[in-house]
């Protein structure tokens, strides 16, 4: 019994069929608890007022935007090394979710920045690197959609993802060099002193939990769709031959 068994599409479909309702349920529970608790049952911040509540959307979506790319990187490497089709398709399915998360993080950030910093947008390192990440996602998705042969597409996008990751990390540090930031440092930290206050932290954890499972749910659904599309295509080709 090993994890690689689930690289078999049939086994993957069976397993994902079983876990999907749970993932979806976790996601709904996490989001509902986190957002309701956060929006209605936490105090206003003494300086930021009620705008602090944007944190329950902003932080989890930004977190998942980066993690989604990381997941695509891992899936791409698995595809290149072990040639499991499910892995390549999972990377493909994760990209639209990741780009949406990036959009949500950028938009909520702009909405938060306007009242707090007095500007919708600043050329701050974090903001700029997120915009660059957004461009990387767009390029990745565009490359997938412009190549007909699915295996070639998977190979090329995997290579783009790997090289892109190196450059994305390089860009992240390059923009630090380029400009000092307006954005605060990390809100979440294992160091109690630096961490966001507990009243905001507990609902935020629920919200992050919800976003993680939302991502997993969407990626699983997307991967299942891709597998079935692939199957339908194979059936169509077989029929044409007969």
């Amino acid at each position: 019994m090993s994890l690689w068994e689930y690289a078999n599409p049939v086994k993957f479909l069976n397993l994902s069929d079983k876990v999907l309702p749970f993932f979806a349920g976790f996601s709904i529970i996490g989001l509902a608890v986190g957002l309701f608790w956060g929006f209605f049952f936490t105090p206003d911040d003494y300086r930021q007022g009620s705008t602090v509540k944007i944190i329950y959307l902003h932080v989890p979506s930004a977190l998942m935007a980066i993690n989604a790319w990381f997941m695509m990187l891992v899936a791409s490497v698995i595809w290149l090394v072990r040639r499991h089709h499910v892995s390549a398709l999972a990377a493909k399915a994760a990209a639209p979710v990741g780009v949406t998360m990036t959009m949500v993080a950028l938009v909520t950030g702009a909405l938060w920045g306007q009242p707090m910093w007095g500007t919708w947008w600043a050329w701050d390192p974090r903001l700029t690197s997120f915009l660059i990440l957004f461009l990387f996602y767009l390029g990745y998705i565009a490359l997938w959609s412009s190549i007909d042969n699915p295996d070639t597409a998977a190979d090329l996008t995997s290579m783009l993802c790997i090289v892109g990751s190196v450059f994305a990390i390089l860009s992240r540090y390059a923009v630090n060099f380029w400009n000092q930031g307006l954005h605060q440092g990390a809100s979440l930290s294992l160091d109690k002193e630096k961490n966001v206050a507990d009243v905001f932290y507990q609902p935020l954890l629920f919200s992050i939990f919800g976003f993680v499972f939302l991502f997993l749910t969407l990626v699983l659904i997307g991967t299942r769709t891709e597998i079935r599309l692939r199957r339908a295509e194979a059936l169509r080709l077989r029929k044409n031959r007969e």
């Binding site: 490359l143 450059f167 390089l170 860009s171």
Partner: protein, 218 residues
Amino acid sequence: MIALLQRDLILAVRAGGGFGLGMAFFLIVVILVPLGIGPDMEILSKVSVGILWVGALLACVLSLDRIFSLDYDDGTLELLLTSPIPLEAVVTVKSFSHWITTGLPLVVISPILGLLLGLQVSDLKWVFISLLLGTPALSVIGAFGAALTVGIRRGGLLLSLLVLPLYVPTLIFGANVARKSLADISNNSALLILTAVTLAAFSILPFASALVLRINLR
């Protein structure tokens, strides 16, 4: 390898548009920006480094598809794949010849265009040096993008979308070298990192590009 370099250079010159087009495009960008911003020399000299760098970058992107697409279309690339030279070396040579035909002319005319944008003669040196050190990286990173899109019809726009985000570090450090020297701050660190980016790109990326080309030629 030298024969290959010679062949690429001769093709670029004789087929037309190799040397000239990139430079002409660069010139047009530098002329258009003051028309958009206004003739105030003080503002222009402030943004001049950025204009020169972004102009060079765009001129480079426009000529990227020439690196592989012609050879891909007429089958030369497949012959090169079976030749005794490893494909990695082919990629390196082709990136280098792309730099000689587009990057180098841009670097050479950049001081003149810098004058048009109100830079002092003493500042031109650093614009020149930063472009000289940075543009080879643009060619070799671009070759990776060109290798990715070589099999795609009308992949020009896609190529720009893929390559431009990869240019971010080079642009930041390159422009930083010149801007710091303009502000009389030591630009040593930026200069070192820019050189490091170029050298690392030249030593590592050809392997990725060759891998991608092999996938495309399968």
